[in-house]
């Protein structure tokens, strides 16, 4: 039978623990502190003026659709740096079902060798 104490128990891992309720309380306190600090900021800014507009390094604001960064551009730098790796991965993912089976046979062979069958 599940009892109310079961809901409050801490998950013990081998050398640590995890209790989401304690985590929630800590996050709440952290957010409260952040809110208090924010409340101490300046309030005399003027709405609908240059002070509240987005600063785009002096560039004019583009059309809405052009402003949105497309998914393929999001990690462009990362992809460029690891192009060598991605080229290899793309060669591996041929989309050819014969290659899918070939990989299975390769793993089967390696497994046979490791377990000492061959």
């Amino acid at each position: 039978m599940i009892e109310i104490q079961d809901f409050l128990r801490t998950l013990a891992t081998n050398s640590g623990f995890w209790n989401p309720l304690i985590w929630g309380i800590i996050i709440f306190i952290a957010l409260l502190i952040a809110y208090i600090i924010r409340g101490r900021g300046k309030k005399e800014y003027k709405k609908q003026t240059e002070q509240t507009k987005v600063f785009l390094s002096g560039n004019p604001e583009l059309e809405k659709e052009e402003m949105h960064v497309k998914a393929s551009n999001v990690y462009w730098g990362f992809m460029e740096s690891f192009k060598w790796l991605y080229n290899g991965l793309e060669k591996m993912h041929t989309g050819n079902v014969s290659d899918y089976i070939l990989w299975f046979v390769i793993i089967l062979g390696i497994f046979f060798i490791i377990l000492g069958v061959i």
């Binding site: 599940i2 079961d6 995890w18 949105h68 960064v69 998914a71 990690y75 591996m92 990989w103 000492g116």
Partner: protein
């Protein structure tokens, strides 16, 4: 004996029989009315789920209980004292997997109501859907090797047809073809291994085989073939390539059940390693050249190697992908890597006398992650389906600003994002924390790679969140509306369970994960209970 006791007694058979019968009745009900058919299918799934819950309650009430169900009346006994009929054996691990399948099945049929509404041929869709669910339950509950193969095939054939359900899209048919080739190959190898075992021991029952297995040369061949075949069905790198094709092209409601089917294959591999060969893993030395190493250590290291490859390649490919569903599919591959990392780490330590605690903890993390992965990845697939339903787009490059039109879907995506990336306080964090800690004790590098890849996984879904949901409202999506209530309900059910597990992980671990781990590691209890219980 009252009716509830009767239902519990026959529950292992009913759990498979009801969706199976429902599948064949669906085309008939469909002749009457489409709405009635949908209600009928939901009723079938809910009724089956209720029986699963009754059985779960029965299993969890008594620690270490195994519910053995013999088909065909009184059990005929062979000269050796073993039953020759088909047996279903339900222990902590079986019921754990059945609970996962239940959640996915409920969410899947509710989601299908609106998601598939515009399609024709829905009588066939629901028939195949229920067949797929019946096959999945069968794979999970059976204690018979040949029966396992039969259910594997039922699931594969139904899955193939459903992956290719959108026949107007050529790529769906291509994905279905690839799936059936891969599945049939894997299943045939499994059948070959079963034949090897049957030829030696004259038995097909898992418990009987586990008690008799000698780890002869032929047994080694059977082990290699069984694990490789099931690993391909589970989508482990480098045998994962069918998975993005199939997951990416199937309707989202089908992909949800495919996640369960993939995990049922993983369950099969676990059953074979720990239950069938469990007794021999510690006592058998593996000879490589002049060096003798414990078999469990060799197997564990090999699985850990595959796991690292699976996590790494899964995450890297997900990061590059711009098709929403294929991206989630690659992330799902990486998530499978986390499970087998824990299982591999557990294999290296769980049988040792001085480090068994680490192994048990790793296994607990791995098994717990099976549940969490099914929910997290499942939810993300449903969100991807919702976006497709609303926009008819799957390319992330074409999407943007959807949070303004689809508020609930956005919230469900955020829950899935945090959960799959292992962010606190979601369920994925709890299981990944256990995996990180236990693998750290095996080798710190494993843990470091796992954490780094988890951060990359977060980056993957942050990209999706930014591309699809944030940004200005795009004019072409002005008329996009939130998805229908049945789809929201299905996503809501999974999201609620994710949050519940996230908030109360210890309870879930104690009540359902620990019994599954105990069932896996204590194979002598399995053998004595099943053979003794006939």
């Amino acid at each position: 004996m009252n009716i509830i006791d009767d239902i519990i007694l026959h529950s292992p058979a009913l759990i498979v029989a009801i969706p199976l019968l429902g599948a064949f009745l669906t085309p008939l009900v469909s002749k009457i009315n489409d709405k009635l058919r949908n209600i009928f299918v939901i009723f079938i799934v809910l009724f089956t789920s209720a029986i699963v819950l009754l059985l779960a309650n029965d299993i969890y009430l008594v620690c270490g209980k195994i519910h053995t169900y013999v088909f065909g009346g009184n059990a005929p006994i062979t000269e050796g004292g073993f039953a020759i009929r088909i047996l279903f054996e339900v222990d902590g691990l079986n019921i754990f997997m059945a609970l996962i399948a239940t959640i996915l099945a409920i969410a899947g049929v509710i989601y299908s109501w609106a998601f598939m509404k515009e399609n024709t041929g829905l009588d066939k869709y629901y028939t195949l859907y229920l067949l797929m669910i019946a096959g999945m339950y069968g794979m999970i509950l059976t204690g018979d090797m040949f029966n396992f193969f039969v259910f594997l095939e039922i699931t594969s054939i139904a899955s193939c047809a459903l992956i290719a359900f959108w026949t107007n899209k050529g790529k769906a048919i291509d994905a279905g073809f690839k799936y059936i080739v891969v599945s049939a190959t894997g299943a045939l190898f499994v059948l070959f291994a079963i034949a090897i075992l049957y030829g030696q021991y004259n038995a097909l029952n898992m418990a009987v085989l586990a008690s008799k297995i000698q780890f002869s040369f032929l047994d080694k061949i059977a082990l290699v073939i069984l694990i490789s075949g099931l690993a391909m069905k589970a989508g482990i790198v480098p045998m994962h390539m069918w998975l993005p094709d199939a997951y990416g092209r199937a309707p989202a409601s089908v992909t949800l059940i495919l996640v369960g089917v993939t995990q049922a294959s993983l369950y099969g591999a676990l059953r074979m390693i720990f239950t069938l060969y469990g007794g021999k893993l510690t006592t058998t030395m593996n000879q490589i050249g002049d060096v003798s190493i414990d078999l469990n250590l060799v197997l564990g290291i090999f699985i850990v190697g595959l796991a690292l490859l699976t996590i790494f390649i899964g995450v890297l490919m997900a990061l590059k992908e711009n098709n929403f569903k294929r991206m989630i599919a690659f992330a799902a591959v990486a998530e499978i890597g986390y499970m087998i990392l824990a299982i591999g780490a557990a294999l290296t330590t769980v049988f040792s006398t001085n480090d068994a605690g680490t192994g048990m903890m790793a296994l607990k993390g791995g098994v717990f992650h099976i549940l969490n992965d099914a929910l997290d990845v499942g939810l993300l697939f449903l969100v991807a389906g919702a976006i497709y339903y609303a926009t008819k787009e799957t390319s992330l490059n074409q999407l943007g600003g959807l949070a303004r039109n689809m508020k609930y879907t956005t919230i469900f995506f955020l829950i899935g994002l945090l959960a799959v990336s292992g962010m606190p306080p979601m369920n994925g964090f709890a299981s990944k924390l256990i995996i990180y800690e236990s693998t750290y004790q095996v080798n710190p590098i494993l843990s470091i790679i796992a954490i780094l890849c988890s951060i990359l996984l977060l980056a993957v879904f942050v990209k999706v969140f930014h591309s699809a949901f944030l940004g200005p409202k795009l004019p072409k999506f002005d008329n996009v509306k939130e998805v229908p209530k049945s789809m929201l309900l299905a996503m809501g059910i999974i999201a609620t369970i994710i949050i519940f597990i996230g908030l109360f992980p210890d309870m879930v671990v104690n009540y359902i994960v620990q019994p599954a781990v105990n069932a896996l590691t204590n194979n002598s209890n399995y053998i004595s209970n099943v053979i003794g219980g006939i």
